[in-house]
Subunit: 198 residues, 2 copies
DNA sequence: AATCCCACTGACTGACCAGTCAATCAGTAT
DNA sequence: ATACTGATTGACTGGTCAGTCAGTGGGATT
């Protein structure tokens, strides 16, 4: 059915869509913008995707599944809980580091878009919380983490903080220096595990 | 110029807009939906507001200014830092408690809408972070909070967590029991100040 | 060389909707 | 009464854009 060439064209359209969504926003851009960016005829977009929304859909699911896999892998490793959280923070921060446009689109247009599009993916998004929640819960059972704080609540705090940081970076529009990425990874874990009390 | 009756009509339209935006979302709803909800002719909306966007604008600014004032007031009080954070958490949680539709609109359509509308209000939004950041910074100077964590970073963690919790409530669409509101207030402060380490 | 199969093209359509505006109405002043 | 003023109405316009579709071209298959 789908020749290698066709698979590649599909990819070209997806990559173009990332750039266009990141630049103009999903609602603001036209399908013709995506076609132009991909250097492809308008109609071809509809040859590969049934709708504009499906393109965003595809981009989100592709990446989110990779993240869920990364969380699941981390869960299985035999390292201290703090290291597990660090691994996840590291994965998400690096996702932004190496493909800021894609992460921008996912966060701005899906994860944070509770109104329109995000609603469709609440369950997928929740699976990430649940994975993190299980790591926290496990650490509580072992006695590494306090049991006073609900594990799912802690997961929200952890993921929420990361998303907040990425959102700041996205807002700023500035390139982020390499050491900032590494510094933030540590600060996230320190904040969530250590708290503010001195 | 504006008679009391006119001021009231304006209010009727704003309140209707809150309900419509909360129900259908800003981008999805039509101006005629707002007019219908307000029981008012289509054109009258444009008599009171120059554009659809200005309505959302007005709703956000009205409420956000109240919140900035609440933060500023809290800053001035002479209570332990933890109590200050609790007061702010309490204010925001209660804002949702007593007007969930308005908070839903502000969070979903402005605060979290980094792409389109939010961009206009980044500075206003940042002022909230800065207020919280000053409280944390002050507590660090006094020695109540550790200095390892950047004050603005902590403010992001704090506000981000609250917004994350509200977003969960919004997503769920369920009514929240009274004790849940109170419980969450404590849990937010405990999480941010105490951290997870046991 | 005839046929088939898709990738591919881009002009076109149909629906939608923000914002306009000319007309009407109601209250108040003169 | 008359004139004036601002509130109110809703039909209409102009522009936008997602999605359609009839047709083209080129590589494989027979």
């Amino acid at each position: 059915m789908s020749t290698p060439a066709a698979v590649e064209k599909r990819r070209v359209i997806l990559d173009a869509a990332v750039r266009v969504f990141a630049r103009q926003g999903f609602h603001t851009c036209r399908v013709s913008d995506i076609a132009d960016e991909a250097g492809v005829a308008y109609g071809l977009v509809y040859h590969y995707f049934p709708s504009k929304e499906t393109i965003l859909d595809t981009l989100f699911l592709e990446r989110w599944d990779v993240m869920l896999a990364a969380i699941a892998d981390t869960e299985k490793t035999e390292v201290p809980p703090r290291e597990k959280l660090r691994a996840i923070a590291s994965f998400i921060v690096d996702s932004y580091r190496y493909d800021p446009d894609l992460m921008k689109v996912i966060i701005v247009e899906v994860t944070r878009a509770a109104n329109t599009f995000g609603r469709t993916h609440v369950e997928k998004i929740m699976q990430a919380y649940e994975g993190i929640g299980r790591i926290v819960g496990q650490a509580q059972k072992v006695g590494t983490f306090r049991t006073e704080i609900d594990a799912m609540f802690a997961a929200q705090a952890f993921y929420g903080l990361i998303e907040q940081v990425l959102t700041q970076w996205i807002f700023s529009g500035l390139p982020i220096p390499a050491e900032e990425f590494e510094h933030v990874k540590s600060e996230i874990v320190d904040m969530i595990c250590g708290g503010l009390d001195g």
